[in-house]
Symmetry: C2
Subunit: 221 residues, 2 copies
């Protein structure tokens, strides 16, 4: 995070992430961003051409930093079994999405990603290829290793989506979750606890899916 005396370009990039995340692309105005970055309005267009390009740069910066600060194998022993790899994957996802050091939880950049999932901007296509798809593939192999056998794409991909869905939902629906639940402040303790829960829940889910897959006797429709 750029300090108070960082260059104008860095300050803009940093502040824009916060404001885009909080307000969304359309509601965030370059005037507000400029004021928060202590910069003239024209400086934004000078350094980033236009608002949309600035947004693209922010998106790339946010993903790059998020994945390098919290890689999917965070705190993982080199010889860890697939269950522990899943645990690390989920925990990294929680920290990346919600911790202050990551995408900042409720008020911060996490919502920027949430918004992209709901309606992706043009700049998101590159993010998909560079970050999301490799991340999905990693989870795919972890699940395959846990199961031991391939249940086929009709079961495997939903496993991926169910696991990612849980992680993402906590982050993207946090404004509502805070209203219908409690204890969801993104403190380190809560993130660890929730990640642990989602891990166990998902292990149970994977086991159940595997069990049902290898009991094809019930209904051979």
């Amino acid at each position: 995070m750029p300090s108070y005396n960082a260059s104008a370009k860095e300050r803009i990039l940093d502040v824009a992430g916060e404001i885009f995340g909080e307000k969304g692309f359309k509601n965030a105005t370059i005037r507000v961003i400029a004021r928060a970055a202590r910069v003239n309005i024209a400086a934004i267009n000078y350094h980033f051409r236009d608002k949309e390009s600035l947004y693209g740069a922010v998106l790339e910066e946010v993903f790059s930093q998020g994945f390098s600060r919290f890689p999917a194998n965070m705190d993982l022993a080199p010889d860890a079994d697939p269950q522990q790899r899943l645990r690390a994957f989920i925990r990294a996802m929680f920290y990346r999405l919600q911790s202050c050091e990551g995408w900042g939880g409720i008020a911060g950049r996490g919502r920027l990603i949430a918004r992209e999932l709901v309606d992706p901007s043009p700049a998101f296509e590159a993010i998909l290829d560079r970050y999301i798809k490799p991340h999905r593939d990693l989870l795919l192999t972890i699940i395959l290793d846990i199961m031991g056998t391939d249940p086929g794409p009709r079961k495997l991909m939903p496993c991926v989506l169910s696991i990612i869905g849980q992680c993402v939902y906590y982050a993207m629906a946090s404004p509502v979750i805070r209203r219908i639940s409690i204890d969801n402040a993104p403190t380190e303790e809560n993130l660890d606890r929730l990640a642990e829960f989602v891990w166990l829940f998902s292990l149970g889910g994977i086991a159940k899916i595997k069990e049902e897959t290898h009991l094809p006797s019930k209904e051979a429709v």
Copy 2:
């Protein structure tokens, strides 16, 4: 769904749901809504005072219709066991969120709800009390019935969120899911298949959580 010859007010309400869902509140302009509803711009302000009130009316209408068309006990036998009640709950949620008769999946009103989860509008507060919270409480009792014993709020509420999270994620991230997965068109067959998957996955998750809860021997930190 109001027919071609419905009253102007009905046409506006109907069309506004579609356009708000597709573009979001800020990006949807009353001029576009007016043209699509074959109505003068001023008619919107005449019938709904201002844009924000129109949005509030749309939100209420969307939730009211969604929950009455697909109640959480959809197709459920009166004497069903808690597992079947969970199945119906999840299936109703998928249909409500994604089917054409419901909130219309990808291009339709489903994304309106997704946007509300990410950043709720002032009008959402009432929706929370009238629809979301009772819905959450219903799921709470179902999970309690499945488990048989109360694992405490630290385990119970996350179960709710994990289940709802899976359902919502399929709907709200559908633009991205379509890109990283396949077979996710909201046809009746696919919705049934996915709901069935999420049901099994969640049953496994609940079982695992229950199992871990009643093995408190491992680490009594």
